[in-house]
Subunit: 197 residues, 2 copies
Amino acid sequence: MRLLEEKILSDGEAISKEVLKVDAFLNHQIDSKLMFEIGKEFAKLFANEEITKIVTIESSGIAPAVMTGLQLNVPVIFARKQKSLTLNEALLTTSVHSFTKNVTNNISISKKYLNDNDKILIIDDFLANGQAALGLVDLIHQANATVVGIGILIEKSFQSGAQKLKDLGLRVESLARIESLENGVVNFISEKVEELI
Amino acid sequence: MRLLEEKILSDGEAISKEVLKVDAFLNHQIDSKLMFEIGKEFAKLFANEEITKIVTIESSGIAPAVMTGLQLNVPVIFARKQKSLTLNEALLTTSVHSFTKNVTNNISISKKYLNDNDKILIIDDFLANGQAALGLVDLIHQANATVVGIGILIEKSFQSGAQKLKDLGLRVESLARIESLENGVVNFISEKVEELI
């Protein structure tokens, strides 16, 4: 998605070979108009999938997920990293390791918001090693619901997450695919020719 | 706001005299269309305030804040409860106690996203004892920016937060104001007569 790639180039920061910092428009400050356009793009990509719900994970997945939910007209559920006193009913739970933050969290979704008829679109900000997305897939499968696709804003294609998800037969749509972050320079995987026409 | 009050009555749950559970449309599952309408309402209420940025706190404030940001065409910043490895620059920090979760968190905003020219609208999901809102006010004042108003979805008016904020001279706009949650029944403070005409 050209708009997102341009934003990454103008406002993102490759702070190491593995870490792209996008606090300026996604992970701390949020560009709502960009999120709206991203929601439109995901809604278009998954228009024919009869999606019933979107699942994401707090916190940075929420903005693009609600913009997608607005345009697909379906509810959004965000998996919780901490238990809340008001979230004490039956939970689906799994553990997810974040390499960026170097912590392992239990993530949870209340059982009552997912059922076996649901066709779920997962939305998340980054796809790197795939831990968060695989955790969400696990929660959805625990509910016997179907994952119809995974919409990612920024895929670090030099890490293994996208391949792991594709190996499970899952459709992955990443709006920006990063080939490398060497020497502070962001290199994208070239878009397919048909997308450039 | 009639739409929000109706949603609270249909999908909310008064689980004690002090706790209203709205996981069905705000704190776990999110009704994006409702959040869009809430964003429109805040944008209308604060249309003349020349707001430059919206500040909220993860996670439940993000959805209504980005919908408001979309319609006021300003960036949204969400205060972080945990430090991230990619959020390691100069931070504004304060501590906030959550009575619902019974934890005290440090919350932080990166210094570079707030400056002394900013006119800030704070958006949050609940206003109870006012701890979260007061923490955000503190962060904004640390940056020498101006708080022009506070937009709250659900005010528990039987707790002291709204009064504390008003005592600081701050404008508080709460879309649903709850008088009591006795016996599992949600009672709203009656809307002013002119709003009913």
